[in-house]
């Protein structure tokens, strides 16, 4: 069976036919997609699935990764935080580090293509390579930029405004830009190790290996150790639940090569956990996909208590596994959860604790939330929908003034 056909049981034959039709329209166009890391983080994960699938459809697509030193990634981490609204210093020296790394990459990254598709702020400066009447350039922003720090956004906007179109994950991220802004949500892959079905035996084996007993309900948050994911707030909510329910908390997260702040956050999480044997703080490598899958499947309730989110794809991962999810009502999370129908949206540590208790007490209601959530993900957040929208995006270039486009 081809890679594409393996999706038919999840999305139906018609969806795959649509992908084939669109791919035929793109024959002969060369596409290069560029980001800042080959592993770790949601962007690399999605590209590692989308690029091979696109090739199977006959799309001529390459994936390039920019290189940068620790100083560059420290600057881009601060840019990331500042775009999320956290106050960060951003001076001339930072700008120069960013520009210098951009110049180095301009000299080495092969951007010869008909469509250049850039992801996130790190490689945004590659637009400097653009020549008049050359390729179409797209900038895909995976970050919540609804309330960015103004000087940092102004710096990026000098680059962003030169693109043909931009892509954001949620409606509230739209900016005042001269080019079209397309909304494309990210997605999960139902066939990846992180999301495929696992047997109970496989789940047991993984949890045994990670020393997490399945003797009581497990409440889990899977995400990078990042302040914006509020892992300390998760521990706080769990502390409020503990007097009423005997349960375990699993905080599982990996690092990413462009995230130097993770170690410091991890230290504060360990401090908050204070050696409690029911709190399991797991540092997982970027390759720990089956482990994450098993932890989510073993969980009774899954949390994503983010303070800011680009999208919060772990929500869709957990919903796809039929789990009730309690998540912060930020970024793209409300697109994935309709409150009290396909999950729970909260704003505070106390509210998160309240709903964890409710779901632990009412398993039938929790199960219904999970079932509705899984159907919502099937329609809107699987890889095939994501790929279809990228193909449409490529076809949109060159006719961005049209709203009904007839393809032959």
């Amino acid at each position: 069976m081809s890679r594409l056909e393996a999706y038919e049981p999840f999305v139906g034959r018609g969806t795959l036919d649509e992908l084939r039709l669109l791919s035929e329209q793109l024959q002969g166009r060369r596409i290069v997609t560029v980001n800042s890391t080959a592993v770790g983080g949601g962007v690399a994960e999605i590209l590692s699935r989308l690029v091979p699938l696109s090739r199977e459809l006959g799309i001529d697509i390459r994936w390039e990764v920019i290189k940068g030193g620790e100083d560059f990634f420290a600057v881009t981490k601060r840019i990331h935080n500042a775009l999320h609204g956290k106050v960060e210093g951003f001076g001339d020296h930072d700008r120069e580090i960013f520009r210098e790394t951009t110049r180095n990459n301009l000299a080495t990254v092969d951007l010869d293509a008909d469509v250049v598709f850039i992801h996130d702020p790190q490689p945004v400066g590659l637009i400097e390579a653009r020549r008049p009447d050359s390729a179409h350039w797209l900038w895909r922003c995976h970050i919540d930029v609804s309330q960015p720090q103004s000087d940092v956004w102004a710096f990026l906007a000098e680059y962003v405004t030169r693109y043909d179109a931009t892509v954001f994950s949620a409606p509230q991220f739209a900016r005042d830009l001269p080019c079209p802004q397309v909304m494309i949500a990210p997605s999960i892959d139902p066939l990846s190790d992180k999301n495929r079905e696992l047997s109970e035996t496989e789940i047991d084996q993984v949890l045994d290996r990670l020393h997490i007993p399945r003797d009581k309900p497990i409440v889990t948050q899977v995400s990078r150790f990042d302040r914006l994911k509020d892992p300390v707030g998760v521990v706080g909510a769990f502390r409020l639940v503990q007097p009423h329910h005997d349960c375990r908390l699993v905080l599982a997260g990996g690092g990413a090569t462009d995230d130097p702040e993770g170690a410091e956050v991890l230290r504060t999480v360990h401090e908050a956990a204070a050696g409690d044997p029911d709190i399991h703080v797991l540092e997982l490598p970027p390759t720990a996909n089956i482990e994450i899958n098993a932890i989510q499947r073993a969980s009774t309730v899954v949390l994503q208590k983010s303070l800011k989110e680009g999208f919060g794809l772990t929500v869709s991962e957990a919903l796809w596994k039929g789990k009730p999810v309690v998540a912060g009502a930020v970024g793209g999370i409300p697109l994935q959860i309709t409150h009290r129908y396909s999950g729970i949206l909260t704003h505070t540590v106390e509210g998160t604790a309240f709903w964890i208790k409710q779901l632990l007490t009412a398993p039938d209601y929790a199960r219904r939330l999970g079932e509705n959530g899984r159907e919502h993900v099937r329609t809107n957040f699987l890889l095939t929908r994501h790929l279809r929208e990228y193909l449409l995006l490529f076809l949109f270039l060159g006719r961005t003034d049209q709203r009904v486009i007839r393809l032959r």
Binding site: G12, R13, G14, T15, D17, E18, L21, L22, Q25, S146, F168, P171, Q172, F173, A174, R175, D176, L177, P180, Q181, V182, M183, I184, A329, V330, T338, Y341, N372, E375, H376, T379, N380, R388, E389, L392, L393, L395, F396, Q402, R403, V404, I405, R406, L407, R408
Partner: protein
């Protein structure tokens, strides 16, 4: 049964419509702002907010497929106006322009009797979006009723949505494409009317497809007797 099928002079070519969503950077915090934008936005914005719900929230049907009603009810908590907006019967409109006028009219009447406006909490503003529709011919076509039934069973939701919703409202053809072809090319006027009578806004797309296939299969059985 196959032998009894009448071939159409012109085959039915199944098309599909696949949508890309654009962000407009227009947002409304209260009804006055909502109204101001509703008057100014392109028709493709009105189309998006009255139709995307059908494809994106399959399992919620028969909830109203209308974002304005949803926001007014759930965010502004203006239940009465929300109900009036949800009750706008989309099947009775043949143009986006007429649909926009009705939505605007309902909100205007409400505002005429109101002094105080409720404001959406931070982060829950109404964000206007826009649909770009790509219309693509599929490889499926039908020359008779039997092939038509097979095609209906196979097509994706984008195709169903195109022939039912886009054809009527966005391309202003007046009827859904299926009924038009069945009546004019196969002389199946009664079947065409039966399909046209289905209110597609009250079904999930899967449910709509099943209802149509049932009607076509029943007609095939009648002809086989």
């Amino acid at each position: 049964m196959q032998a009894m099928d009448i071939s159409a002079a012109q085959a039915f070519q199944f098309h599909t419509s696949l949508n890309l969503t654009l962000l407009t950077n227009r947002r409304a915090r209260d009804l006055a702002e909502l109204l101001e934008h509703l008057r100014a936005v392109p028709g493709s914005v009105i189309y998006y907010h009255t139709h995307h719900f059908l494809v994106q929230h399959q399992y919620l049907s028969p909830e109203p497929p209308n974002d304005f009603a949803y926001w007014v009810t759930n965010v502004l908590q203006e239940d009465r106006l929300g109900e009036e907006l949800a009750a706008i019967d989309l099947i009775t409109f043949h143009t986006i322009r007429a649909l926009r006028e009705r939505i605007v009219g309902v909100i205007e009447r409400f505002l005429d009797a109101r002094r105080q406006l409720r404001t959406a909490p931070d982060g829950e503003e109404f964000h206007f979006r826009e649909a770009v529709s790509f219309i693509v011919p599929t490889t499926l076509e039908a020359r008779d009723l039997s092939e038509f039934a097979d095609g209906l069973e196979r097509i994706g939701f984008g195709s169903l949505s195109f022939h039912v919703f886009d054809a009527r409202l966005r391309l202003e053809k007046g009827a859904n494409d299926f009924s038009e072809w069945l009546a004019t090319m196969l002389g199946e006027r009664i079947l065409a009317q039966e399909i046209a009578r289905l209110d597609p806004y009250t079904y999930t797309l899967d449910g709509l497809r099943a209802a149509m296939v049932r009607l076509v299969r029943r007609r095939l059985q009648e002809r086989a007797r």
